[in-house]
Symmetry: C2
Subunit: 194 residues, 2 copies
DNA sequence: AGATATAGGTATACAGACCTACCTACTCCG
DNA sequence: CGGAGTAGGTAGGTCTGTATACCTATATCT
């Protein structure tokens, strides 16, 4: 089987430790030794569960994406109208921002990672997929609201996703997640005319 | 005096080389040796002109900020109305995006650097100042357009700056600067109602 | 011209990176 | 039970990074 949870599998402990350190100090700024020390496991265990640091990074990115999806699903549960489903995406982003580790909020972990990965790194693909998925989640309700104008729905989805991304980038710079609330309010404003 | 241009001062050669390498490979991904080799300069010269790599990074960030300001000034020359002055800021960002080195476009160098710098790094302060300055450049014409509603002008400036930032972040991910054109069009749309 | 500062170039200290090796111990499973 | 797989722990190997030292050569300034 995959891993029927022995105590708390070394794999999970490593991923959790890597998540905190990668987010706080950056990927390049985090050494293998720091990860195993924080995880409280032997270095051997790391290389039993991951083929390399790049593999650990890749799984870290996937995990953060999955983490956000779960938060979004939870928010979508409570959303009824298309308009609420759009704002739920903004709420999910804000929820995700609460995942700050000890060094404080530093913006979107996926975006930060992409900024530090080289252009050909496979990890960037994960980040691109994430952003596409978010945009699709914005587009679906908009298409419902504007069934006769798909072009406008597409432009609006893109605009909202830019807004979200920009708010996240600025939030990371300032170290606060207030910008995500602002962005949500802006999105709500844009939607009242529909 | 400062440095009355001997031939092409080592300081400039180093900054130019660092700019290309930092932008293409990231700051952490760029070693001192690579910088001096590309600059065609001795390592001694680096440590004569800069106290450390951190100093080089800091001056790199300042230089990119100044570079953008120059591009913006040029664009503002041709702008007459407040509306044009706002769109000129978007144009300047697009101009700046054309500063791609051999590895292609990778988004806003300042934002990428901030993503990879730790929370307490002084370099982040430079990036914050840059973003504040951009937002101020957006706010001034909006205050002219909305002299009786400064609150709305402020919100709009912030929204436009989020739009710009988000487009830049996405553009860096995709490796293309088309998103900046989209953002300019969105901004133009938002301004027609004023 | 002579003094001072800057530059080239190589060698090197010193730390930290990623990864592997070896040995021991526990646990799972037929 | 006995063997295989996973885990802990330490040690080391190789590479790369930042920064300095030393010596020579060139350029600038009085």
């Amino acid at each position: 089987m995959e891993s029927p949870q022995k105590t708390t599998s070394a794999h999970d402990k490593l991923l959790r430790a890597a998540a905190a350190l990668f987010y706080d100090n950056g990927i390049g700024g985090t050494g293998i030794d720091a990860v195993v020390q924080r995880a409280g496991v032997a270095k051997k265990s790391l290389y039993n569960n991951f083929t390399s640091k790049a593999d650990l990074v890749s799984q870290y990115l996937e995990a953060r994406h999955a983490e956000w999806l779960a938060l979004n699903d939870a928010r979508q549960e409570g959303a009824q109208t298309p308009r609420e489903r759009i704002l739920a995406v903004f709420d999910a982003y804000r929820d995700h921002a609460e995942f700050a580790y000890e060094r404080g909020f530093r913006g979107c972990g996926l975006l930060n990672a992409a900024a530090e990965l080289t252009a050909d790194d496979p990890g960037r693909q994960v980040v691109r997929r994430h952003k596409e998925e978010v945009e699709a989640l914005l587009l679906a309700p908009l298409s419902e609201l504007l069934p006769d104008d798909p072009a406008r729905a597409g432009r609006l989805a893109r605009q909202l996703s830019f807004l979200l991304e920009g708010a996240m980038a600025r939030a990371g710079l300032e170290g606060s997640s207030d910008q995500l609330l602002e962005a949500r309010a802006m999105a709500a404003d844009l939607l009242v005319t529909l």
